[in-house]
Symmetry: C2
Subunit: 339 residues, 2 copies
């Protein structure tokens, strides 16, 4: 089966310079995939020429005259830019001309436009952003990462259901465990929404294992962790910030003097193996779950390696048929547990 | 001037075994300090004997028959344990027999009991937990770290005022900059409380510099960062979790085989210098600001080195007279800016 990904070629901090070289590398490695490069034909054409590449059966160019700026208010992007690369890419997905959409553009705008164009799945009130994060012994799926700054208890329950479906599909787990992110593990901890969500999840038929604290994200105690988008976004970005600071400190220490430079040279293979393990590029590509279609958001600052990972995430989610799985799970039918 | 610290000798995961050796090391290094060890006399006496130490003019033992368990509900600790080491230590502070109180016990209980015994300063509705965290170029004061899971706009404003006073006193800065933690830096980002707090801080006379995202905590862009206790707690603990995971990965990579072990041996001094820089012990000791008195909370799992750091934080805050500075700042007087 051929899988076509609509790629917002103009999105992200670097635009076509990154998106197109990522697309070419991806197509080379994935013969079953096609890509529709969506954006301004001149910019795309110029970059293709620079890379000595050309459109082909597997690499179409779909014109879109406008670009959503990285700092543009979502409402404005939605109202005024009907021919943006982001919007046209999502239209392709809606119209069945693509199987997934990948964008490194403005997160808020992507969420707003995707929500408007694709609509949520039946039974899902709000889409959420989910990504896999490394843990001591594997990875964990964390959601929501910023789509919803205020959440109800029912929103959190739906996030849990969707997170479990993603974990079951991606990791092939029977009954993925799900936890709520909280400021403590005792029953009395947390705000009212989290406490009520704990009640709801306890009676949901999900493999709910209770509260987990911020440091528990990385110890691998749960397959899925649920929180509102404000908390999830701060947790994710604070984590990125610490990791970056630690890498900077390590580099500084090895760069101090002749001896430390030499030590760094000796330790180089080890340090490289280490750097690979904590490389955020490997975890680039967050999914907007709960929509009628697979939409993957890449980090705005992603380079070609990182963006290619987002394309891989999209490919995997199409293969796993995540939206359909969520649709089936949310169908009203009494007393039904998760597979 | 002699400064007396009431130390909850029973608090923390390790109790007297850690608190007393930290107290002895601290007294040795700080001839101007005295400590009141508060707790069960048998346990304290046994540990003193084990360390070949004895009570003295600078090291008194103040008996308290009960201990607040680490998992005890705050309300229960407050209602039923009137002779707990935590409570008695706070009583000493209230009665002027100590200048500060340090405890590694149950955070929620410490907050509840301290609030009850000491009361908040005039103009402060709720105390907050503040700590210094390392950044690329120094450190930042983050609050609230978990005292208040739900906050109003006015709470956040008061946290900003207190954070700025702490930063000014501790770092000797003229007009410390203060930012609000948010899910984006644009005006439209965030929930209603944060947006309203931005308005309030913009008109406050404080050196308010706008929103900062999670990764901005560690880049050193602000002297003080304000958020509600739910978000602050998750940000702090997620950061700790990532740092711990990264250290574990680094250790694993250097422990892989003969060659990597050898490389680790060569790089050992560099790795040790690095480890010192990211050592959480150096940052142990969070202050409960907004109370009538200096109260410092140590991590429950603190060892003697870390606990000693919490004692240093208490000493510094007494010298800087933080509660008095907050009291003066909050005195009603129109059009007054922060010193």
């Amino acid at each position: 089966m051929t899988i076509t990904i609509a790629l917002d070629a103009m999105g992200g901090d670097h635009g076509p310079r990154v998106t197109i070289s990522a697309a070419l590398a991806f197509l080379k490695a994935r013969p079953e995939a096609c890509i529709a490069l969506v954006g301004q034909p001149d910019a795309i054409g110029g970059e293709l020429r620079r890379l000595a590449a050309a459109p082909s059966e597997r690499l179409q160019v779909v014109p879109a005259s406008e670009v959503v700026r990285m700092d543009e208010p979502p409402a404005q992007a939605l109202r005024t830019k009907r021919d943006s690369s982001m919007r046209v890419a999502l239209n392709l997905l809606r119209d069945g001309r693509a199987d997934a959409c990948v964008s490194a553009g403005n997160t808020g705008a992507l969420m707003a436009v995707a929500h408007f164009v694709l609509k949520t799945l039946p039974g899902i009130d709000r889409p959420a952003i989910v990504t896999a994060l490394p843990t001591l012994n594997g990875h964990v799926h964390l959601l929501d990462l910023g789509a919803n700054v205020d959440c109800t208890t029912e929103n959190l329950r739906q996030f849990a259901v969707m997170g479990v479906i993603v974990a079951a599909a991606v990791d092939g787990k029977e009954r993925p465990s799900v936890a709520l992110l909280n400021v403590g593990v005792e029953d009395i901890k947390g705000n009212e929404v989290v406490k009520a969500a704990a009640q709801l999840l306890g009676n949901s038929g999900l493999n709910y294992i209770g509260y987990i604290e911020g440091d528990g994200i990385y110890t691998g105690g749960a397959d899925v962790i649920v929180c509102d988008g404000f908390v999830g976004n701060i947790a994710l970005k604070a984590s990125e910030g610490v990791a970056r600071m630690i890498r900077a400190f390590l580099k500084e220490e090895f760069g101090r003097n002749m001896f430390t430079l030499l030590a760094g040279l000796v330790a180089r293979p080890v340090l490289k193996a280490f750097a690979r393990r904590v490389d955020p590029k490997r975890y680039n590509g967050a999914t907007l779950v709960g929509l009628n279609g697979v939409v993957v958001k890449s980090h705005g600052s992603a380079d070609a390696v990182a963006l290619r990972n987002a394309l891989e995430v999209a490919l995997r989610e199409v293969r796993q048929n995540i939206p359909d799985r969520i649709r089936r799970e949310m169908e009203p039918s009494p007393q039904r547990g998760l597979a």
